[in-house]
Structures are given as C-alpha cells and as structure tokens.
C-alpha cells in the first residue's frame, strides 16, 4: 500500500505508537516521525495505578515495546519535546524546542491532562496520576500507615484507593457520587464496589463535593469538603478527571470542543486525524460525537486511522471496552452503561462477587458488565452489537 510520503504522529503513548505499528503492519513503507513530550520511551498507563504504584512491577515492565521492537518500526522517535502549534494547511507542527516538522498526514494523539484543585500547584504531598513520573512520585510518598485521601471516586480514584489500601495505608476516598464509579457502572454495581472497599478497610466519605485543600506552609494537611468538614491527610491524590490536551492546537482553526472534533473517519481536517483519549469523533452508528478514555480504544482507533490514512474508507464504530482491577475484583465492561439503565444480573450472583450484569436502555441492550466473570461477559458482547442509534 502506498499512502502519504510522510506521516507525523504527535504523541508517543499507546494511541500514537499503535498508529505507527498499524501503518507498518498494513505495509506502509513511507517515512514516520513520532513526537513525544515525555522523555521516556513509550510506556503503558493502565499498570501505573496498579502494578507500578504497588511496586509489584519495576517501571521497565510497563514499557509498551522493547527497544528492538521500537527500532524495527523504522520510525524517527523524537522524545522530550512537545508540540506547541499546528498549521493544518501546510501540516506543520512546531515544537517547544523550535523544531518544525512537516508531513503529508498528521495524527494527533496528545491524550489528556489531569484536572486539579484550586491551590494544588506547588503544594507538597499532593499528587495527580497520569504519567510514569507521577506514579513513581506518588509511590515514594505512600509509606505504610500514612493517611491518604483520594479525591475522586471514578475508575482511577477507585484503583489508586485499592492499591494504596493493599500497601497498608489509611485510605479515605471522597467525591460527590454516592459510591465508587457510580457514574460509570450505575447504582447496583457501585453499591457492590462500596461494600468491597468498606470491607477492605477503606473509609468512604462520599456524596459531598471537595472544595479545596488545607495546608500548613507548603505542605498539604487535608481536604476540605463543601460541607466545611476537613479530612486530615498526609498525602492527597487528586483524580477528578482530565482535559483533552488540546491547548497547543488553539489558533490552528481545528474544531476543539471537549477534544479534537472529527468526522466518522476520525479526520479533523484534510490530512489531519485524531486518535485515543483526545479524539472526539462522530460515531456513525450512535449518530453523535463520542470521546473514549480507555486503553483499548487507543489501539483500536489507531488501527482504524492507519487504515484511513492508507486509503480505506471505513467509519470507526467500536463497541467500547474497559476493565478495572480493585482488590480481588476484576470488572470488565463492554458497550455503554447509562446511569439510568435497567440492570439485570444474567449470570452468577452479586453476593457471590461473580456475576454478569446486562444494561438496557429504552428496551435495548447497551452494555454488559462482568465481575470476576471475564469470559462470560465477553460472550454476551454480541448482544450489544445491534444497538441502534438510540443513546
């Protein structure tokens, strides 16, 4: 297959690297340049809140590919330099160090930047978790017995909570939702997660929003809730979601609304594409714009975009998938789980902590969730494939 003479991928994490791999797998022989803001060779993020944070894995084990595999890709990997501007007409990217990289096709894969609380910057003992350096910095702060407050009851907050509790810390999880991952999995499963965390000794202080941090000098001392209550802390992790990293595209003329807005082919403009967490594309089957923050989407979307770059004319219409591991619970989620969906347990039992739940909205199955039943959940994925454009 021929395709453009030169492809520039901006972002060297899962989505960016997968784009390069898919191009090569599909036979692309042209020039490829990958620009990565971080100094590290491409690494994987899911282990950061689990095996890397717990110390079970040395950081090297989270590498996305061996150095030999990277070099076999025959791509020019430019690391430790970030993109600061894009001219979509000439398809030129300018970098912080002053490079000007021009290509026939540009793939935007710059991911996310964590949201923070007011007054968080520069305060010792407060962390976010997005990068490998973030994970290692947090790990150094997690000494046995320390009081950790995790701000955020989403997937990342719940995983960090579980990992830290297993390390022996005194952990409090706080956030506005009534139970862990309530917005992601709905009331039935989030109540089961709350029971699990509680049983493992996590303090759940949920249902009230956080307004800020308390400090003594430059060191954090606690987390202040909207009720005025202060949760004392030696260490705080802020996991309250993230923004698509699109600041560098301001002024490019691309449509930026909660991500880089793309058509059904994940194309933002002629010869410009967006993949992974940063991409908000028109999902043809759902009939609306979708942005997915999960690991499998990074790879699947990258593969689809590599195909489009090389001339395939196919819409990207995935059934989303994510997983999370907390204590001994392994949750697998296929499809979409609207918070107001009707949920039926179709295999196993919630009390046995081994079950498959089916989510229906407007009478159609929109998603399935497995709790310690990965295979059985996956087998029911086919039931989702006929979701019409209802969601």
């Amino acid at each position: 297959m021929t395709g453009p003479a030169r492809v520039l991928v901006v972002g060297a994490s899962a989505a960016g690297l997968s784009t390069v791999e898919a191009l090569r797998r599909k036979g692309y022989a042209g020039e490829v340049v990958v620009l990565g803001a971080e100094p590290h060779a491409p690494y994987d993020r899911p282990p950061l809140s689990k095996q890397v944070l717990s110390g079970a894995w040395e950081p090297d084990r989270a590498a996305l590919r061996t150095l030999e595999a990277l070099s076999a890709l025959d791509a020019d990997l430019v690391l430790g330099d970030s993109a600061v501007a894009l001219d979509p007409v000439t398809r030129t990217v300018r970098t912080a160090s002053g490079r000007e990289l021009r290509a026939d096709a540009v793939v935007i894969a710059t991911g996310l930047r964590p949201r923070t609380l007011p007054g968080q910057e520069g305060l010792a003992g407060v962390h976010v978790l997005r990068t490998l350096d973030d994970a290692l910095a947090l790990r150094r702060n997690l000494s046995d017995g320390a009081r950790l407050v995790v701000v955020g009851e989403g997937v990342l907050g719940a995983e960090i909570t579980a990992t830290a509790r297993m390390l022996g810390l005194d952990v409090t999880m706080t956030g506005p939702q009534p139970a862990p991952m309530a917005l992601q999995v709905g009331p039935l499963v989030s109540a089961a997660l709350a029971a699990l965390h509680h049983e493992r000794g996590v303090r759940l202080r949920l249902g009230d929003g956080v307004v800020g941090l308390t400090a003594e000098g430059t060191r954090v001392t606690g987390v202040r809730l909207g009720t005025g209550e202060v949760l004392p802390a030696d260490v705080v992790v802020v996991a309250i979601g993230a923004f698509p990293a699109t600041e560098w595209l301001a002024g490019s003329g691309l449509c930026l609304e909660n991500g880089v807005v793309c058509d059904t082919r994940c194309r933002a403009a002629d010869g410009i594409y967006a993949v992974g967490d940063v991409s908000r594309w028109h999902h043809e089957r759902l009939g609306r714009l979708v942005r997915l923050e999960n690991r499998t989407n990074a790879t699947a979307q990258a593969t689809a975009v590599a195909g489009v770059i090389l001339g395939a004319d196919e819409p990207y219409v995935p059934v989303p998938y994510f997983w999370t591991d907390q204590f001994d619970a392994k949750l697998q989620v296929h499809g979409f789980l609207p918070v107001d969906a009707d949920v039926d347990v179709v295999e196993g039992e919630v009390a046995a902590r081994r079950f498959v739940a089916r989510y229906r909205s407007g009478g159609v199955v929109t998603g399935v969730l497995g709790w310690n039943m990965p295979k059985q959940a996956r087998l029911r994925r086919a039931e989702i494939d006929d979701v019409p454009a209802l969601l």
């Binding site: 994987d44 899911p46 497995g370 039943m373």
Partner: protein, 64 residues
C-alpha cells in the same frame, strides 16, 4: 509463526478471542488467555497479528 502468551500480564479482556477465535480462548474461571494453537497456520497469520496488536495488556508476542 510461533505465538507466546504471558498469563501473568493477561487482563482477561478477551480481545484476542474476538480477533482470532481459532487460536485463542479464555479460561472459564478467570478469563485468562488459553492458547489453542501455538503454531497457527499461515492463513491465520493476519488474525493472530491483529490479536497481538489489540491485546490491551501486551500479553501476546509473536516469533516468526
């Protein structure tokens, strides 16, 4: 083509089974990958490479 799986890295996503069901399966009890054929025939090579590419845990490697 020789396929190697790392059960310790596997997160039981089952994406490999979706990509290449003649080569991969999952254990009933915990969903961990089961390699049905470690030397798949050439006609399955494309599917198997796809399976390795979509594995979100990087648990599948291919030795040519």
């Amino acid at each position: 083509m020789k396929v190697v799986v790392d059960e310790e890295k596997c997160v039981a996503a089952g994406q490999c089974v979706v990509a290449a069901m003649d080569v991969f399966d999952q254990r009933d009890e915990d969903g961990i990958v089961v390699l049905l054929n470690e030397n798949p025939p050439p006609e399955l090579a494309g599917e198997v490479r796809e399976a390795a590419a979509v594995c979100p845990a990087l648990a599948i490697s291919i030795e040519d």
